[in-house]
Amino acid sequence: MPETKKYPFHEQFLKKEWSYPMGAVLLAFLAMLLVLVTDQAWGVTGPLAIWGGKFLELIGINADSWEIYHGTLAKYNFWKNSTSLTNLGIVLGALLSTLLAAQFKIKKIKSGKNIAAAVIGGLLMGVGARFALGCNIGSFFSALPAFSLHGWVFGIFIFLGAAVGSKLLTKYFM
């Protein structure tokens, strides 16, 4: 491709994809950095339950009085919550990466099946992550390497769930 040669710097440093092992090394390094800085392991889904609870309060349901929230909603501050900050960081970091690679494109919904997949998949992930006290990050990437048995159990059952999910995906959502 002629364009490839026209912008060698852009090709080499901003557009070229990194290898999976490169991703693995950097993610492990960043996760360690986060633990050292915040004394708290990397997580993702904790704030989602908080945001949902906040929304319930907005429509007049006092979720904060539920035993399971026990006042966490009142204490929550987006800017002081490390997981909320890293979540927003993931969105903007990925956006920055695609923009600098000149690959950004709104990927529209192609069919009702996409919507159904997002709705059902999203609900299941939310419920599953709360049952296991964390998601693929909090109860897996920050748990299995931390020598917690629940990380191993969670990982094994994500794998089994993913196998079932793959069958459902090919059968109903494609």
Partner: protein, 246 residues
Amino acid sequence: MSENATSSIRRSARAPRETPEQRAKKRRIQLSLGAALIVGVVLLGFYIQSQNPRGAVIWAVGLSFGYVLQRSRFCFTAAMRDPVLTGSTALTKALIMAMALASIAYLAIQMKSIGLLPADLNAENLDDLSTIPGNIRDVGVHTALGGFIFGIGAVVAGGCASGTFMRMGEGFVQQWIAVVFFIIGSVAGMAMLPPMKASGILYQEGAIYLPQLFGGWLPAIAVQFGMLFILYVLADWYGKKKAGEI
């Protein structure tokens, strides 16, 4: 498997019909927006630091997570799904590598915080495992059930928790819908936890920390890295077998 379906999960090699001029224009626009975004996140970083004494570092790490996940196409869901769906284990092997590297990091951090002797592992202050760096949480039927449900959801939605946020940044509308229902599901899960705990069957109290379980650091290290090694060899073998190399 149709092209349509894979594209929502993994970036496909699409070939848009664009003239070189259009492409150059698109590149200029996107690079300018990228430069503006850099200014934006730096300014936001200053605000975050003013609100949170560790904010700037956390912000930089979060942005780096997004950048690294996007650039390397590292996806926890695909690592779990691809062996079944496509027979590829390249990402699975990278995930095992990441787990092994993070294990080394946590080992160092935990040894420093707890102490090196087996006796240190039985110290009274370790009764509360949540004081140990890393997430060491209640394990039981709820963990297995949660993992199974989460695994199905992540594959169906086309991205796990980190993957959903990453794809939102990439411009996938599907993930913007998924995150709304992820939040609704989270609240539902929160509401279901107390009855699960009360049932006595679906939830077990108590976390299990491998160095305590095996009575020392060395056996825990042997089991942890031994298991990861076995899984890596298995994934490597399975991938080659599926690719027809064996």
